[in-house]
């Protein structure tokens, strides 16, 4: 396959990219390439050696590498061409890709369509602006996960974890199993940032202390972390004077949020949603640049890989269709807007012509709620949490109830009964 003949180019070979590439191929695109900066396909799945993957997609409880392996085999079987150790460094509005690798050097080509599947990165210490010294031993949880599970190193012996995101809680358990002592998991919010199952299986089962409504207010130590000071926070998340306590430790892990990796998207002039940090997309997962699609964590941060795969399959299928038809598709014309207690919704626009699944998150936890999609649909849910993504299916049948000329649908999450 010559690069000049590529129909669909997928950027990133994590779960999103693999699912998109396979689906693009299955949907009829002949020449599909998947471009990956690392040495192998699979992305972060290799370092996620814990289980809990594939419960929805495969109806099986798999580890990350097992889940990844199924897709890697399929990539190979379907004849998708992997371009490994290849870093895409440029993307233009007219879909020109510039990339480098050690074999071909600097390569440029223009595929018929593109799927963005670059995933996300972790928020760092710098972004949090934690005061104190700047010693070694401050790592993001995902970087620590790579060290422990892939590289074969343990960063330290006495660990404090800031943030209760899933990777943070999973690393609390992982490091405990490696013989380290996790002194505390510190979360600024009144509730945990990750999934309940991780709170139970990773923290409670290992008797790891969890400090809700607390934050790290200072890092100590010149060369290596010596201790951190934590304090209780008030309703506005400001530390309360007099509540500080200093915990001796040699490592601080950060699990304080993930940010979609959209530098290439911005380079290509793709418009982003300020809330998700990902591209604005329609129900086909097409971005604001014609022929460029996106799926998975580059679009919005998911909590389950199963949803990443599904969403990216949609993006891959749409990209194949675009490449085959070679005619620009219009973005959907009806905006989906976040209303009461809804933080964001993907896709941001729909056509109203097809079945669509709305992926959304709430702003605040709440029990006994009703999700209202404009005035065409309501759905009762027992409990909602910001950490657990909601999926609302909107069949084309239901969308027919929309009045002609509808430009906007507001989605609200209201407390039921209100009594």
């Amino acid at each position: 396959m010559k690069l000049q003949d590529v129909d669909v180019a997928v950027i990133g070979a994590g779960p999103a990219g693999m699912a998109a590439a396979i689906k693009a191929k299955e949907a009829g695109a002949e020449n599909v390439v998947i471009m990956e900066r690392a040495e192998e396909l699979g992305g972060l799945l290799h370092q996620c050696v814990h289980n809990g993957f594939g419960l929805l997609y495969f109806n099986q409880d798999l580890t990350g590498p097992e889940y990844g392996h199924r897709f890697i085999e399929k990539v190979m079987d379907t004849g998708v061409k992997p371009l490994l150790e290849t870093m895409v460094v440029r993307l233009t509005e007219d879909r020109q890709i510039g990339a480098v690798n050690i074999r071909e050097g600097y390569i440029t080509f223009k595929p018929k369509s593109i799927v963005l599947a670059m995933g996300c990165r972790e928020r760092s210490r710098g972004a949090l602006n934690i005061p104190g010294t700047r010693p070694a031993g401050v790592l993001t949880a995902g970087t620590a996960q790579r060290y422990v599970n892939v590289e074969g190193f343990v960063p330290g012996k006495k660990i404090v974890i800031l943030g209760s995101g899933d990777i943070g809680m999973i690393m609390a358990r992982r490091l405990t199993l490696e013989g380290a002592h996790v002194e505390a998991v510190v979360e600024i919010l009144p509730y945990i940032g990750g999934l309940i199952r991780n709170e139970v299986q990773c923290l409670h089962d290992f008797e790891i202390p969890l400090f809700l409504e607390h934050t790290v207010t200072r890092i100590h130590g010149e060369e290596r972390v010596r201790a951190v000071t934590i304090a209780k926070v008030d309703g506005r998340r400001n530390p309360i004077a007099g509540t500080e306590r200093t915990i001796a430790c040699d490592t601080l892990l950060l699990s304080v949020g993930l940010i979609p990796e959209n530098e290439l998207s911005v380079m290509a002039g793709i418009r982003l949603d300020p809330v998700t940090g990902g591209a604005l997309v329609d129900e086909m997962r097409q971005t604001t640049v014609s022929g460029v699609f996106a799926g998975g964590n580059v679009l919005h941060v998911h909590d389950l890989v199963d949803n990443v795969s599904w969403e990216s399959e949609l993006a891959g299928e749409s990209a194949a269709k675009f490449a085959l038809e070679e005619k620009p598709q219009k973005q959907g014309e009806i905006s989906i807007k976040a209303g009461t207690n809804i933080r964001y919704i993907v896709p941001q626009t729909i056509s109203g012509q097809r079945d669509v699944t709305l992926y959304m998150r709430v702003t605040e936890p709440e029990e006994m709620v009703r999700i209202k999609v404009g005035d065409i649909m309501t759905k009762g849910i027992r409990a909602v949490k910001p950490s657990e993504m909601l999926k609302i299916e909107l069949p084309a049948e239901t969308l027919k109830k929309l009045k002609d000329g509808t430009k906007e649908i507001i989605v609200d999450c209201e407390k039921r009964g209100g009594k």
Partner: protein, 495 residues
């Protein structure tokens, strides 16, 4: 334990020490530079802002100040120096913002003073400063707070990377014969009749002259030789680097005397910091940041450029300056022979260190000559230093060519800053021994993810190039290892 002899011993591998070492390498002189850390410019040089030429604001200093003379003399030296050392310097110009009519008085006074000093203290190649009105200000800086009615424009202000400059100076000095010893800390000094015996952790050094360029440790070193005829105070401020995606928000360095400054950096980021002020903050050697200062700095920066936001901060650090005694003019520097100990020369520039350094180095040659050192020109002196390759700055054709020569340039290790394995290997070849050493030479980990992705990869390359296990790779020397144990090591220890 070794024993070495040298004519001139320079203590400190910051901007002052390396600039002096490089200047001395123009002459046939046996000079040695010792630095206690693993790398250059990791003390207060690292804590300085990116501003390279102090212009109009130094007009506030009294003309008889030694410091003023050094700053002004240094201004025309910086550009040619950067050119010789092959590191980028970008003239961006500064705008001292004016809030109201009453605020016009200061700039007017500055302009009068500038005209008076020009040709006398200020070299003729320095461009004049001028007032610009509200409309010009708006058109130059559309993202600036609309409240400002004009500005004092100084076209001479430039930015570069102070640590890179320091490293380049050290490289060039070494190339021209200066003996450089890292991880060598001075522990004691005994003064003989015409020599000093200096004890270090790596043996002793006998020398005739000592140049004390120990930065924030200048007082401590002077004390060892009983040459502490001055008082110094550390002053701490706060500085933050913002994401490149908002790098274009401001084109000039903008500041007010009370708000601190916002400026583009040489690398295309945005940078803000509060002016250190005269408050005596911080303890010596304490480089920790502080929430109060951070909040104040952000508030001030937003008063200048409202779109600056905390969510774009990718890193923050302390600004740290060692000032001379407040009572006798806190802006004054301490460059000269100790009153008590002959041939012991102090070189503390304080504010504004970086841009005065080239002039300090030149002056040091005079001081040494006056104090009996015979300096004969070194005919083999080569002022040029080969640039570090910067893959991200190359054209497509140049990229292709470089990768063809060395495929390691086709391996992008750091996504945020597009840094390749080739550059990291070159940085190690040129002396990087730590993760910070690599980072300050070619920037992996300086971007928005702060090494989240490239950290493990840089560690691996560094370990391979240095021939040590990854558990011995440090962030900045000493005990600053990021990885302490191998897998299962802790479990085995428990059994």
């Amino acid at each position: 334990m070794s024993q070495i002899e040298t004519e001139v011993l320079i203590v400190g591998g910051g901007i002052a020490g390396t600039a002096i070492a490089r200047e001395l390498s123009r002459y046939k002189v046996d000079a040695t530079l010792v630095e206690k850390g693993v790398d250059f410019g990791q003390g207060i040089t690292k804590c300085s802002s990116t501003m390279m030429c102090q212009g109009s604001n130094t007009l506030e200093f009294r003309s008889e100040y030694h410091n003023s003379r050094l700053v002004w003399a240094g201004m025309p030296l910086m550009a040619p120096l950067c050119q010789e050392l092959n590191i980028p310097l970008k003239r961006i110009g500064s705008l001292e913002l004016i809030k109201n009519q009453a605020g016009m008085r200061r700039p007017e006074k500055m302009i009068r003073r500038f005209n008076e000093y020009r040709g006398k203290y200020i070299p003729p190649e320095v461009e004049p400063i001028q007032l610009i009105d509200r409309e010009t200000l708006r058109s130059w800086e559309p993202n600036l707070n609309k409240q400002f009615i004009g500005a004092l424009y100084d076209p001479n202000i430039a930015v570069n990377d102070p640590v890179r400059l320091t490293i380049a100076l050290a490289e060039n000095a070494r190339q021209n014969g200066v003996n450089i010893l890292l991880e060598t800390e001075v522990l004691g000094i005994s003064a003989g009749i015409d020599t000093f015996d200096v004890q270090t952790n790596n043996g002793s050094i006998r020398c005739r002259y000592i140049i004390n360029a120990a930065g924030e440790y200048i007082g401590k070193l002077a004390q060892m030789a009983n040459a502490d005829d001055f008082a110094l105070y550390p002053v701490k401020s706060y500085q933050a680097v913002l994401d490149k995606k908002i790098g274009g928000l401001i084109n000039h360095m903008v500041f007010t005397t009370e708000n601190g400054m916002v400026s583009p950096t040489i690398h295309g980021n945005l940078f803000f910091g509060i002016s250190p002020g005269t408050q005596r903050l911080g303890k010596a050697h304490d480089h920790s940041t502080d929430q109060k200062l951070a909040d104040a700095a952000m508030k001030h920066a937003q008063e200048l450029v409202p779109d600056v936001s905390a969510k774009d901060i990718i890193n923050s650090f302390v600004g740290f300056i060692v000032f001379r005694n407040f009572e006798i003019g806190w802006h004054e520097c301490t460059v000269g022979v100790s009153r008590w100990v002959p041939r012991f020369i102090n070189a503390s520039i304080g504010f504004p260190g970086i841009c005065a350094a080239p002039a300090v180095a030149k002056e040091m040659v005079e001081i040494l000559t006056k104090n009996g050192l015979r300096l004969e020109e070194n005919p083999e002196f080569n002022p040029y230093r080969e640039a570090m390759p910067d893959f991200s700055e190359l054209s497509d054709e140049e990229k292709k060519k470089l990768i063809a020569q060395d495929p390691r340039y086709g391996h992008v290790v750091c996504r945020c800053e597009t840094v390749t394995e080739g550059e990291i290997v070159e940085a190690v070849k040129r002396g990087a021994r730590t993760l910070d050493g690599v980072k300050f030479r070619c920037r992996p980990g300086m971007g928005r993810c702060q090494g989240g992705f490239c950290g493990p990869r840089v560690t691996k390359i560094l370990a391979r190039e240095l021939g040590v296990p990854e558990t011995e790779v440090t962030k900045k020397g000493g005990e600053s290892r990021n990885l302490i144990y191998k897998s299962k090591e802790l479990l085995e220890a428990q059994q």
